[in-house]
């Protein structure tokens, strides 16, 4: 009788434990609902052609970077994480990494003033106020960074800020190929 009375308690504890585990997994583990699996890995980077932020006559296009391994970084001055990762992008650029930016849903003047203050890690910046390229790349938040290889194939997609840890864990293993 006594043992039977403990069954509901036990069931509760098991369920509570399961929920706690799932909560944790959803916040940072593999069940994170924000971590949407991308369809793009191993596929050709979608084409776009957008005016350069500084030089509206020049069109920025992934085709211009064929033969190069490069990063495509989606950012906006309205995105706090983009400010946070900016320093790290500067560091990557100093190491010789080619970074092309897509400035998303932004005012050109604000984007320029942010780069004037913090430095410009980008080789070119495609100005995309109407989310043209952003939708082509299945981007749903900023920042997002893609690694595109010499054949123009997307190797890595990272949603969220860049950091040394992310770089080492997610990007470096794909640099060789």
């Amino acid at each position: 009788m006594k043992a039977k009375a403990l069954v509901p308690l036990l069931a509760f504890l098991v369920l509570a434990g399961l929920f706690l585990y799932m909560l944790n997994q959803m916040n940072q583990g593999e069940y994170n609902p924000r971590d949407i699996p991308t369809e793009f890995i191993g596929k050709t980077a979608p084409a776009f052609s957008l005016p350069d932020l500084y030089e509206p006559g020049h069109m920025v296009s992934p085709a211009n970077y064929k033969g190069k391994v490069w990063l495509l970084n989606v950012w906006g001055t309205w995105c706090p994480e983009c400010w946070r990762e900016h320093d790290y992008l500067m560091a990557l650029q100093r190491r010789g990494v080619t970074i092309v930016g897509i400035n998303w849903r932004d005012e050109a003047a604000e984007a320029k003033s942010m780069l004037a203050r913090l430095g410009n890690p980008f080789e070119r910046i495609a100005f995309d106020p109407d989310s043209q390229a952003v939708i082509e790349y299945g981007v749903y938040g900023a920042p997002e960074t893609f690694l595109i290889d010499a054949e123009g194939i997307i190797r890595v997609k990272h949603a969220g800020g860049m950091s040394e840890q992310v770089w080492q864990e997610k990007f470096v293993p794909h640099l060789g190929g």
């Binding site: 609902p33 949407i36 699996p37 369809e39 989310s131 939708i135 790349y137 299945g138 938040g141």
Partner: protein, 155 residues
């Protein structure tokens, strides 16, 4: 107090009016308009993930509505637009995910659970019935019951 309530309610209503204020797209072809309306109710907004892009006022949802409008106007069918979005945002963007290896459990699971539940129920009912049939009442218990009934009558 009343005044405060009135203010609170009018503020709430103001919020509703703002939320309902989404852009209006014009179609020449009513069939395309119908496709567009179906699509925006079946595509998920990836920012506020439990809303479709028809209900969501997130900027991404606005962009996705604009893209959907463009594609439908270009003459794409409903399935083609769905594929276009799924290619970019994954099956997750579709509120009606396609049946494939990844989603099989999702589609078949409820029916499996239903079948198992029916089976369990039938088994329990049968077991109980068998128990009732084999159950016998001891002679003693019968006479005790009879005497109780007698007592009742006497009173």
């Amino acid at each position: 107090m009343m005044k405060a309530l009135v203010i609170v309610f009018s503020l709430l209503l103001g919020g509703v009016a703002l939320a309902a204020n989404i852009e209006v797209y014009k179609f020449e072809d009513p069939a395309q308009e119908a496709i567009y309306k179906e699509l925006i109710s079946e595509l998920r907004c990836l920012v506020c993930q439990n809303q479709n892009i028809a209900d969501s006022n997130a900027e991404l949802a606005q962009d996705m509505r604009a893209k959907t409008y463009d594609l439908v106007r270009q003459g794409m069918s409903k399935a083609e637009v769905g594929d276009f979005m799924a290619e970019r945002y994954g099956d997750f963007v579709l509120y009606k995910p396609p049946f494939n290896a990844k989603t099989a459990v999702l589609w078949v699971g409820p029916f499996l659970i239903f079948v198992v539940a029916i089976w369990l129920m039938l088994r329990t009912i049968r077991a109980r019935r068998a128990e009732n049939e084999t159950a016998t009442i001891a002679e003693e218990q019968l006479s005790e019951a009879a005497s109780l009934l007698e007592k009742d009558k006497d009173q």
